[in-house]
Amino acid sequence: MKIIHTREHGARNIAEFVYGGVVLREPAADAGDAEWADYLFIRENKAAPCWELWLHSPSGMWYAVLRDAGSDEFLRVVLAREFFAGGVLTDDDAGLSSSSSSSQESTPSQS
C-alpha cells in the first residue's frame, strides 16, 4: 500500500485518501458548448505527472497532488485550498490542462 506524505498529517496510508479527479480549469461562463463538452468529458490521460485532487477522508482535507500516472509517484502534495489560492504552482507546474474534470468515483463493478 502506498504512502502519501502530507505536511498536516505526516505519512499516511493511501487507504485514508479518496481520489477526486484531475485538476482542470472550468471554462469561462460564456465559453461555447464545445468547450464545455471538452471540459466535462475529454481527458489528457497521459502517463506523466498531473495535478489531481485527493481527499484525506479522516480529516476532510482536500489535497492537490502532483502524481505521475506512469510511475504512480506522488511528487507534490499540498492543501487544495492553498493550491487554488495561488502561490503553490511553480513555472514548471503551469502546464495544467485547460480542459477538465469531474470526479469518477463510481466505477463499474463487473467485466
Binding site: 464545455w36 481527499l55 485550498r81 487554488f84 469531474s102
Partner: protein, 975 residues
Amino acid sequence: MSGKRLGGGFGRLIDRGAPLDFRFGGTALRGLRGDVIASALAANGVWALSRSFKYRRPRGLFSLAGHEANTIVDIAGEPNVYADLRELEAGMRVRPQNSRGLPQRAHPLALLNYCGRFLPPGFYYAAFFRPRGAWRVWEPLIRRLAGLGTVDEESRHRAHDKVYDWCDVAVVGGGIAGMNAAIAAAAGGAETLLIEESPLLGGALNYARETPEAGDAEAMRARLKAKVRAAKNIRLLMPATVTGLFADNWLAAVAAGRMHKIRARAVVVASGTVEQPAVFRNNDLPGVFAAAAAQKLMRLYAVSPGKRGAILTANDGGYGLALDCAEAGVGVAAVLDLRAKPPPSPLADAAREAGISVRANCGVRGAVGGSHLRALRLFSPDGDGGGRRTLDCDFLGVSAGNAGNGALLHYGGAKFRYDEKLAAHIPCELPPNVYAAGSVCGANDFAAAAEQGARVGELAAKNKKQILTLAASSSSPSSSSVSSSATVKNWNHPHPVFAHPRGKDFVDFDEDLQTSDITASWDDGYRDIQLLKRYSTLGMGPSQGRHSQINAMRLLARYVGNGNSDDGNGSDADAIGVTTSRPPYRAESIAHLAGRAFEPEKRTPMHYRHLENGAEMTVAGLWLRPAFYGGERVAAAAEEARRCRSEAGMIDLSTLGKIEVFGADAAEFVNRMYTWNYLKQAVGKARYLLMTSEDGIITDDGVACRLAADRFYLTATTGNAEGVFRAMLRHNAEWGLRVHIVNLTSARAGVNLAGPRAKEILEKLCEGTDLSAEGFPYLAVREAKIAGMPALLLRVGFVGEWGCEIHVPASCGESLWDALAREGARPFGVEAQRLMRLEKGHIIVGQDTDGLTTPVEAAMEWAVGKNKPYFVGQRAVEIRRKQGAAQRLAGFELAEKNAPCPEECDLVVNGNAITGRVTSAARSPSLGKVVGLAYVLPEQCEPGTGFMIRAGSGKLIEAVCAKTPFYDPENARQK
C-alpha cells in the same frame, strides 16, 4: 508405529515421544509431533503422494519445500495443502489428489501415460468442439479430470484477525545471509524484524554442510542464533511466509493463521534458492529428490530417504549429501558427478575416503521404476566413455543447481539478468529501499552469504543504496564501498536437461510437461515465452514455475540456438527470458486475506426501538433502516400509511445527511452548490434543495434551513450524504468562500412526525412554542424544546400530511422516539414513506432518477434558478435543456382500474421502441387506484395522454399520464 527413524543426532524437528495418528488415502498411519505430512508418510514408507494432473502418474516429494504440486493433498475442510509444508496434526485425514486410495497403487487413468502422443501441448484446442455443442458434452468430463483439491461446502469461515506491524528493516529469510543482515541492521540501530518461513533459523545450516565436518555448520548456526537472540532490537516472526511485497515496502506475511501486514522502511530479501530438478526420463518418479530434500528428511525428521541411493551432482552439494548418508548409515551406490573434471574439493575427498564410489562425467538418462525408483540408466554427458550402464538404487538425490528465490524482488520491480557463466538469474537492479543478500544473489557458499548479509544489513540500517555488481569467483571483487555483491562460485550445471527420445522427461511436474511439449510449443509458433506459457501452460500450476521456468528457458535457448527451430538465429537464455512473476509467493487462503471480514454497519439511535416493534430492516448504504414493521411488506406499508394519514405516524430520519454551513459566505456557498435560489431565502424558512454534478446530472436533493443570515442547516439523502459533504469541501477548496462546513449526520437524530394528529402531539411536547398556522406555517423552521430536548423543527410535507421533521442530538434520539410514541405517534417504515410520497408525486433521487437524469428530464426545472450567475452543473443543464430531453418524468394512472400494478423499472414502450420506464408504482390504498411515475416521450407527458407499459410477463398495460400530486392536489392537508 511411527515408521522407522534414524537414530540420535538426526531429527531436529521431531518429538520422538509424541506419536500422532493420522490417515492418508484411507490408511491409518502414525507420525510424530514436528513432522510435516510428507515426512510422516515417508517414515511409513509412503512416497507417492498424488497422481499427476494430466497423465495420472504417481508423484512424490521433490523439494520438501513446497515448490511442486506433487505434494498437494486435501485435508478436511481445506483443499490444496502442501504435504511438505504443513505440520502434521493428530487425527488429520489426508486425501491424495487424483487418487482414491494410496497413489502408489495402480490407477485406471494411468493409461493416459501411454497417450502422450495424442495429447500434445494445447491438445484441447484441437478437439472437442465439433460438431456444434460438442464442448458442452466434453467440458464436464474434462473439468472433472482437471482441477486439484475438492472444496468442502460444509466448512465455515472462522475469523482470522490481521496483525499490523512496522519496523525499520524487515529481513525476509532467516538463513545465513538473513541472520547476518538482521544482526548488522540491528547493530546499526535499526528496529529489525527477521521473518523465516520454516520453524528453524539457520536455513541450509540446519541440514547442509560445506566442510567434511558436519559440526561446522551447526557451530555457525549456534553462533548466529545466539547473536540474533541477544540483539534487543531484533524481533522474530516465524514460521511465517512472506507472500507479497507491495508499493512502499508493504509486506504481506502469513503466520499462525493470521495475515501480518508489515510496513518496513527497508526490506532485505534473503530468501535463498529453490533447488532445481534435473530433467531426464522418468525424473518424476517418487524417490527422486532434491539433495537438500534428502538431507532435510534425515536431519530434520530422522527419515531415511531410502536404503541405497545414488546422488547426481554438479557441485559440492552432492558430496555433502553422500557424507550425511554415510553418517546416517544409509547406503550410497555412487555419486554421479555431471562435471567432466570436478574441481578439487575437500568434501569430495572426504566422500571418497569414506569409501563412496564417485563417478565423474556421469549423468542419468533415465530412471526405472513403477511407482518408485528402482534403478537409473547412466550415460556420460561429455560424450564417449561410460556406455550404457544401469545402477540399482531406491532413491536419487539431485544437486544439479538451484534458482534464486527472487519472487519478492520481482514484485518490487527488481531487474534480473541470466548470467551464463553462473547459469543463474541474478538481480542487477533493485527498487528503492529494497536489498538482496545471499544465495538469491548467487552467493551459494556460507562465507559469501554471511559477508554479503552483514554488509547489506548495515546498508539497510543506514538507508544507503545497495549497488549490485556481480563478481563471479574468477573476476575481481568490486571495490565500491557500498557494493554488496558477493564473490560467488559456480554451483549450477549450465544445462541439466537431458531430453529422452521416448519422453516422460518432465520439465514442469505441476502441468505434466515434458521437454517435447516445450519445444513443440515453440515449433507451433508460440515464440515468446509469455505466449509459450499460455499455450503449453508452463509455470501456470500451483508452483508458478519455480521448479520449471529456468530449465524450460535453458532448453529453449539451446533448442533455438542449435538451429532446431526454423528461426535459425540462435538465442541466448536471456533473450528467451522467463515469464513475469506475480504475487502471491505462496497461495494465500481466502480466509487469511479476508481476515475478520469486517463490514461496518451503522445503526440509528432508535435502532432497538425498531427491532422491538418487529421492524424488517433494510440496508441503505452502511445504515440499517426499518423497511416496515412486521407482517407482509405491501400490507404492512399500506396499514402504516393509513394510520399516518388518519392519525399520526413517525419515521426515523436519522440516516439523512445533515450538514451545517456557516460563515459570512454561507448563502453564496449554498447558492453555488444547489440549483435553486438561496441568497434571498428568509431566515427561519426551509427550501427544497436540488444538486447536480458538473455534467448536469441530478445527484441529490434535500432541504435547506436558514437558521441565520450566515447559517444554513442542510439535509442530504441517506446514500449520498458523504458524497455531498465531500463535494462541498472540494468545491470550497477551490472557491475559498468564508464558510465552515460540518457534517452532523451521525451527530443528529431525526424523526418526521406527520398526520392529522401530529400537530396536537407536538403541541403537547413543545410547551410554549407557537405551532399555530400563523406562528409555524408550512416551510417554517424553529429551534425549540421538545420534551426538554433541544430540537430543530422543520415544517415540511414529504408524505403529504401536516408534518414536522424534528432534529435532535443523537443522544436524544431514543427519548424523542419514546416521547412521540407515548403521545400516540405510530411508527412507519421506508416502504410506507415511499408509498405516501408517491401519492404526493415527490421523487426519490436514485429511484426516479438514474446516472444520466437531468433536471429537465425529471421535470424539475422549477427547482433550477433562472437568473443565477452560477451553480455547479449550470452550463451542462443549460446545454441539455437546449438539446431537449429524450424523455420526461410524468405521473400516471392505469387506463383500466383493475389492471395489474406495474413494477418499478418495467419498460415504457412505443411500438418497437423502448421510450422510458416506470420508476415508481404502487396501488394507493388512500386513492383506491394504481399511481406511479414513469419516463415517457416528452410529447407523451401531458396529462391524459396514453402510453404502454410492458410488464415483466411481457404483457402490455395501458397507462395514462396524470397530474401530480395524486393525493390532496391542493396540498390542503399539509398546510
